[in-house]
Each structure stands twice: as C-alpha cells, then as structure tokens.
Amino acid sequence: MAGEQSPISGSCVWDAPVKRHRSIAWLSQSPSLRPDAPLTVRDLAAMGLWARLGLFGKPCRHDQDRIDQALGMVGLSDLENQQVSTLSGGQLQRALFARLSVQDCGLILLDEPFSAVDTASQTKLLEVIQHWVGEGRTVIAAIHDLDCARQFPLWWELSKFGAILRRSDDKPLSSMSQPLRAVSGVAQSS
C-alpha cells in the first residue's frame, strides 16, 4: 500500500479529498534510521518537511510551529535538542511519530508500531493516532497484539495467509482489495 512493491493482484487507490493530504506517510516495523545518526530529535522531526521543502526550501514560521506541536504531542518537547542516538526505543518511536505528524499526510501506514515500545509510550502513541484521526487523516496499522488492535474503531483479524477471521463491522473496504498478507491483525481507524 505504501507503493514500495506492486501488488500481486488487484490495485490500491488512494484519493484524498484535501489536496495536501494526497501523499502517504509510512513507518515500517524496523525503521531504517541509523541508530547512531548525528541528529537531534528536532532535526529528525524536521526531516518530515523534506517532501515539501525539497533541496533548498527554508522552513517557514508555520513549519516550525508544526514541528513544535508534533514534538509536544508525542511528549518530547523537553528532549528536542537531545541526540537521537541517546533515545530509548519508546522515545525513538515517539520521535518517528513526530516526523510522521510533520509530514502532514492524509494516509498514515504503520507496521507494528508498538513492537519495541514501553507501555507508557504505547499509550502516548495511541493518543497521537486518535489525534490524527480527529484531524481527518486515515491511519492503517498492522498490529500483532489483538487487544491493542481492538482499540481501533475498525479492525480486521487476518490469518497468516490473509483470510479474514473476524472483523469489527461489515463495512466493505473497497480500497483494500488485496489486504496485507502475513499479519494477524489489521486495524484501521478513519
């Protein structure tokens, strides 16, 4: 769905009503960020502006506010000048969520977002997801922990081979004609 691989069959269509929400933000299970990256937490969040600013664009006041807001939302405002390499797993995941927030995309895909995260961070991240949904974004997450997945307004429980075992309602998801394979739980909130 992130556009990294072409589907085996079927197709994915993502059509956002708001133009700036057209693009897709994606966080994979094992982030490719180098653990020793010489970046501060704020730099990492600011990376989310890349798609919009390009090679030379300067972040405007509004962009800076958005970074502040994103860091506040994940509870990392105090650590914004700390090096990424010094963060714990949960803090790093929160910083990556701040970057997703700064990206300002209409569709956010999360693969196992809570797999290496402490309970406190998980609660915080669930709040962030709720906030995104409140802003009119769509969040799709693949989650192994079924109890956690059932906290989402809409969830599907999938077998290893992609068959739907159980789901929270009967609404068809027309855009998901080829559901994520090899996951035991897919939760969506919109």
């Binding site: 994606w26 960020l33 180098r34 990256a37 970046l39 890349w50 090679l55």
Partner: protein, 293 residues
C-alpha cells in the same frame, strides 16, 4: 608562530604543496563525513588503490604527463568502483570481499605495468605521491575538486543526508523519486574526482587519507553534520600543514608525513575531543559516580 610557518613563505614548492593540500582537505571534508556515516571508509580506500593501473599505463604511454596520468587514474578508479559492487552481487559475495579482490588486482596490475617501463616510471611517486612536486595541472585539479565538491555537495546535501541516515524514509516520504539516486551519483562522482585529485599528492595507497582521517577525527569534535564538515576541513588543513613541516624538517616522505600527522590528529581527538572522546566519557562516568554516592 610565524617562524614555524616560515618554510611556506620561503620556498615556492612548500607554498604550492600547502595550497594544494588545503584545497584537497576542503574537498575531502564533506565527502569524508558522509563516507564515514555511510560506513564506507574502506570502500573509499579500495577505490583510491584502484586508480593505480590506469595512472601507471597512462604515465607509461604519455611519458609521465600529469593530465594523462589523471585521466588514466580516473578511468580505472571509476571502472573498479562501478564493477566491484555489481560483480559481488552477481557472484553472491559480500560487497567488501568483491572490493578486496578488485583493488588487490588493481594494485598488482598497476605495479606490473609501472615496472614494464624499465625505470621510466617512478613507482614510488605513483604509490606514495609527491606533494612537494605538485605541478600546475595537479594544483589546478585540486582547486577545481574543492570548488566543484563544495557546489555539488551543497546541491545534494539534503537528499544525501536523508539517504545516508534513513534511506527508507527518503523513498517513502513522497518527495521527488529521483532525489536519492541522483544524490548518490553526485556524491560518488565527487568522491572519484577528489580521490584522483589527491592521487598526485598522496599516491594510490594513501589518497583517501586526506578525505577519511579528518572526518573520523571530526566526530570527536562535533555532534551535528554541518559542524563535523567544518571541523573536518579545519583538521584536514592542520594535518596537511603539520605534515609538510614534518617532512621539510625531517626530510621524511611527504605523503607519509601528512597521513601520519592526520592519524596523530585522529588519536588526539579520540583522547581529548569534546564529543564522546575517552576523556569526556571518563569525566561523564566520574560525575555519574559522584552523583550516585
């Protein structure tokens, strides 16, 4: 202080060597910082060695012309760089193993070609460089490398940084799709240019030293990437000047003297630099222990 620097003003060959070395240090600084961050220090070294056969063959055919030697060096350096990666993948070898085969082959062939000239070619010069005999063409090449690298790295800085630190994000973030591959090509092109430009001063064996060593030392002085680049440029120039003076006073081979001084700077930085050096880590531990007790 001025007395120490006097040889640079008194002897033209020292002035030229200092200018050339400083230009190479400027060109190498941003490239080295990115090479180290990408964990490619040794790949850079392998490419440096790979310039030898082309340089030797061109020197043999052209009677030692700087321009032709440079072009020959660029040709084989680029060839090894372009083929070693794909060849290792095709043979299912680890990438560094592929580079080892290619650069050893390049060194061996280069030495054999150089010896075919029957003493016409100065093999020492090809292997270890001749920073004190740097001619106008080589000096101009060093200045061009510094200028072009500064411009090129400014252009691709952002995508290259994201590609280096989080390649997946660069592909998936919705930015321009060409940004990552273009940034990489520009980076490796500039690296090839600077390696070839350094070849005249430091020779095939140590040409990457002026790029890599200051960047490694800079990690102990700066936390952010821009500051690392500035530190690397400064430390590189310091190493060049110190090396030239050591070579001048002790009549030591100049390339080896410069690289030794750069290594000394790395060691000193790792001991007392303000960022993550042994000293600051020991102090940090001591203050933690104090707080605990």
């Amino acid at each position: 202080m001025v007395g120490v620097l006097a040889p640079f003003f008194d002897y033209e060959f020292m002035t030229r060597a200092a200018l050339g070395g400083a230009a190479l240090a400027l060109a190498g600084a941003p490239l080295g910082v990115f090479l180290v961050m990408r964990r490619m220090s040794l790949v850079g070294d392998a490419v440096g060695h790979a310039v030898l056969p082309g340089a030797a063959a061109a020197a043999l055919l052209s009677g030692g012309s700087t321009l032709w030697t440079t072009l020959g060096a660029a040709l084989t350096g680029t060839m090894v760089f372009m083929t070693a990666g794909p060849a290792s993948r095709a043979l299912r070898l680890p990438e560094d193993a592929g580079f080892a085969v290619f650069y050893l082959a390049a060194l061996a062939i280069g030495v054999m070609i150089a010896s075919m000239g029957g003493g016409v070619i100065d093999l020492d010069k090809l292997l270890f460089g001749a920073a004190l005999a740097i001619d106008n063409t080589a000096l101009a090449l060093a200045c061009v490398a510094a200028l072009v690298t500064a411009i090129g790295m400014t252009l691709v800085y952002r995508p290259l940084l994201i590609d280096t630190l989080d390649p997946q994000f660069l592909r998936a973030s919705g930015g321009a799709k060409w940004a990552g591959p273009v940034a990489q090509s520009v980076f490796f092109g500039l690296l090839a240019l600077t390696t070839v430009a350094s070849f005249h001063a430091l020779g095939a064996l140590m040409s990457i030293g002026l790029t890599i060593l200051p960047a490694i030392a800079a990690r102990f002085w700066a936390k952010s990437v821009p500051r690392m680049i500035i530190s690397a440029a400064f430390l590189g120039m310091l190493g060049v000047l110190a090396g030239l003076l050591v070579s001048f006073h002790l009549a030591a081979p100049v390339g080896a003297a410069i690289v030794s001084c750069l290594v000394a700077i790395v060691l000193a930085s790792s001991l007392v630099g303000p960022n993550q050096s042994l000293l600051t880590r020991a102090l940090g531990k001591a203050s933690l222990a104090n707080r605990a007790s």
